[in-house]
């Protein structure tokens, strides 16, 4: 059984067919790349699946359950987490707090008004471990608003990862950082995803990164899925070349 399936999932913004009757599947354990030129509808698809926006029509099934009408909270409980193309962090809180909050929330502890957060040793330990995995341990006590763009991108992923999701969406985890920083960031992320056997969907532009890290590639174009397949097959697909890399691309 597929972990996630969408059926004729559709979202229009006025005349823009952001997501147009999309049938999209993710298998358990897959690391999948979602590619496509700017405005292809990748972020909108993730927004629909994660519950940020609701579809005009179509269905989303997660682990066999229809979650099309579920709210964000229910989807997170079910195990769908995401990071953001434009980072969303708790800027006035430390890196450690940013990650710990995911853990507190995951464990249902944020409902506790009359217990000291500091006393939850296990949570802080886990938060430290996660920061270490992402190479952010040295900045644990720094405010999230005061770190570099590359670090912010990593922290954004770490916050989603700390939810221990079954399915993790990473929306352009290396956008907005220098080319030099991209590979190290993807190395960190992919090694964690692989080691923890997390099912992940990564939206990415850098083709070297995509071909290196993914099991399967799904190509979107003008709100539709144009192609889906192994990296080699996609690399040689003429339609993909035209749509994504432009007709002049060698």
């Amino acid at each position: 059984m597929n972990l996630l399936e969408t059926a004729k999932l559709t979202k229009y913004f006025g005349d823009t067919h952001a997501v147009d009757k999309v049938d999209f599947t993710i298998g358990e354990g897959e690391v999948l790349s979602l590619i496509g030129s700017n405005g292809a509808g990748k972020t909108s698809l993730v927004n629909l699946i994660s519950g940020l926006i609701l579809p005009d029509s179509g269905q989303i099934r997660f682990r066999g359950e229809d979650i099309t009408k579920e709210n964000v909270h229910a989807r997170i409980k079910a195990g769908i987490a995401r990071s953001f193309q434009i980072v969303n962090l708790f800027d006035e809180l430390t890196l450690l707090d940013n990650v710990a909050l995911s853990i507190f929330s995951r464990e249902g502890m944020t409902r506790r008004l009359f217990s000291l957060a500091d006393r939850q040793q296990a949570v802080w330990q886990e938060a430290h471990d996660i920061l270490r995995q992402f190479g952010l341990e040295l900045k644990a006590e720094v405010l999230a608003g005061g770190i570099s763009q590359g670090e912010r991108k990593l922290l954004d992923v770490a916050v989603a990862y700390a939810l221990k999701p079954r399915l993790l969406f990473l929306d352009e985890p290396t956008s907005g950082v220098s080319t030099r920083e991209k590979a190290p960031i993807m190395d960190v992320i992919s090694s964690i995803v692989r080691a923890q056997k997390i099912t992940a969907v990564v939206i990415e532009h850098d083709m070297d990164i995509i071909f290196k890290y993914s099991d399967r590639i799904v190509v979107m174009h003008q709100g539709e899925i144009l192609a889906s397949g192994a990296p080699e097959a996609i690399r040689n697909d003429e339609r993909v070349k035209d749509a994504v890399f432009g007709p002049t691309h060698a």
Binding site: V72, H73, N88, F90, A100, R111, F114
Partner: protein
């Protein structure tokens, strides 16, 4: 901040507050009691502003509800016990904040502020319209209450009572409220509120039900302010619609900003300082409102992070200098 680090500050201040009535005159002690009462109110208010990122411009409503709950209990139920007053104020403010909160937490930013303001003005106008219940502008009198079941001695001076027995009562409630609020803001729930304050979208996407959390924060906030209202009436001896009127909400906002709303202790310091400032300004000139306005503008412009924020900065700089 750790428990230990906090107690290093808190214990000496508590001791100072304990011995104060023994060494100073009743009048400044009573003023301090007013300050402590307002501190409880502003502490509640700041759970919304400082920790949840919601500026309420209607906290006079909850203060008023607490105060009028006490006055009604005196008038209609002939209650005298201060504990029952506080209990009644808690129940009344839970009811009103639950209703107001249900409406307000659907909005944020300026919309939230305007809505809280509008709702508080509704209560204020009700206090006028139903003057046969509320006493209208004359207000309702509240006599000296029984503290822990003990009535004041026959013929005991009211001033003496307020500066001693009642002062200690207020101090005890104040200490409990501070400890509770400290616990709340340092709880996982308190962290979740700060997460909502910093980034609503992200808070949702780590599974925090933001509306629900805002609602609970709103309740807690209103109840603290309601308790303050209940404590305030016996001090004042009378409750009038003034405390439901919007300028009073404005004063609450100002106390938080003056002390520094990004610090836990800011509202406490702000409330006590504001209270003294206001009292002396009133005594100094009939144009006291203008004078206060000027003082406050100057203070806020020179100390943008409030008294506590600035003090912390000075302390940090001094320590670095000394360490060299």
């Amino acid at each position: 901040m750790s428990v230990k680090k906090t107690l290093i500050w808190a214990v000496p201040i508590a001791v100072l507050l304990l011995v104060l009535p023994q060494v100073v005159d009743p009048y400044p002690t009573i003023l301090l009691a007013y300050g402590l009462v307002m501190a409880i109110a502003v502490l509640g208010f700041n759970l919304l502003l400082g920790y949840t990122g919601l500026l309420s411009f209607g906290h006079s409503a909850y203060f008023g509800v607490g105060a009028y709950a006490v006055a009604f209990m005196v008038k209609y139920l002939h209650v005298q016990s201060m504990e029952l007053f506080v209990l009644g104020a808690i129940v009344a403010s839970i009811l009103v904040t639950a209703l107001f909160g249900y409406v307000c937490v659907r909005y944020t930013k300026i919309f939230f502020s305007i809505l809280t303001l509008a709702l508080s003005q509704v209560l204020w106008s009700l206090a006028f319209k139903f003057f046969w219940v509320t006493g209208g502008t004359d207000g309702l009198r509240v006599p000296t209450p029984k503290l822990l079941g003990v009535a004041t001695a026959e013929g005991e001076d009211k001033i003496y009572f307020l500066a001693h027995g009642y002062y200690y009562y207020v101090l005890a409630v104040f200490v409990i409220c501070v400890a509770l609020m400290w616990l709340i803001v340092h709880s996982p729930f308190g962290k979740a509120l700060q997460a909502i304050r910093d980034n609503e979208t992200r808070a949702r996407f780590i599974g925090i039900r933001i509306r629900r959390y805002r609602f609970v924060a709103f309740l807690v906030s209103g109840v603290f302010t309601g308790i303050a209202g209940a404590l305030w009436v016996p001090l004042n001896g009378l409750t009038t619609p003034d405390i439901l009127y919007w300028p009073f909400s404005g004063e609450i906002v100002f106390m938080a900003v003056l002390g520094g709303f990004r610090n836990f202790t800011g509202p406490i310091v702000g409330a006590v300082v504001f209270n003294y400032l206001k009292t002396y300004a009133v005594g100094f000139t009939v144009y006291w409102q203008a004078l206060m306005g000027v003082i406050l503008v100057v203070l806020v412009m020179t100390l943008p992070t409030g008294i506590v924020g600035s003090a912390k900065l000075v302390y940090a700089v001094a320590r670095r200098r000394l360490a060299k």
